[in-house]
Amino acid sequence: MRIAVNEALMKLRRKKPERTVSLDEDIKTEDDSLPREIADWSPNPEQQYNQAELREILSKTIQGLPPGFRTVFVLRDVEGLSTEETAAALDLSVPAVKSRLLRARLQLRERLGRYFQRRGNEDSGIVDGKRASGDGNQ
């Protein structure tokens, strides 16, 4: 009996650390786990690229999503349909639309982060390894 109690207590103790969220681990949501990339973006990430480059990045990124997520994202966030309308259009339940939308948004965010991440030297006035002094003495 004592062994069983000890065993149970050990299990509970072992469980405790799960209450804190590690940045290196996936976050569990209702039906899946999502990887997590936390780095912040530059203030106006889309302005780092010209129009054609930006379209290429956005197109490539969204093509990488599973089609079921992509369709929900486009109908809800690009076309502006409501959750109910999207559910009807795709023959899905409202909770299924919400779940897919969350995962689509988070996956796109993470993929775009590769292009839009704030660079380490961005705030220090150093551009391409040189100090952007702006003086005309050269």
């Binding site: 936390i38 197109s59 559910a87 919400k98 948004r105 775009l112």
Partner: protein, 85 residues
């Protein structure tokens, strides 16, 4: 509120369909959890960038027809519910 709970509410929060008490809890969490703040902010930017991108430009006529087809389906959906979940 834990980070995982915050993530589950993120879509409702960004869409503005969240009850007042959950919203207060969520904003309280955002005020001290920098990681969740960054996730929330960059997710918002992701949506805005795609919305402004005109990546899926449709002719007005096609968009109107698509919309009315969806509305029609919406009526049926309300009556019978989704075919599959």
């Amino acid at each position: 509120m834990k980070c995982s709970e915050f993530l589950n509410e993120l879509t409702n929060y960004l869409d503005g369909v969240i009850d007042e008490s959950t919203k207060i809890e969520l904003e309280n969490h955002l005020s001290w959890c920098h990681n969740c703040y960054v996730v929330c902010d960059t997710t918002k930017k992701t949506i805005e960038i795609y919305r402004d991108s005109q990546l899926y430009e449709l002719p007005d006529d096609l968009r109107t027809r698509l919309r009315s087809a969806i509305m029609k389906k919406c009526q049926q959906h309300k009556k019978h519910g989704p075919k599959s979940v």
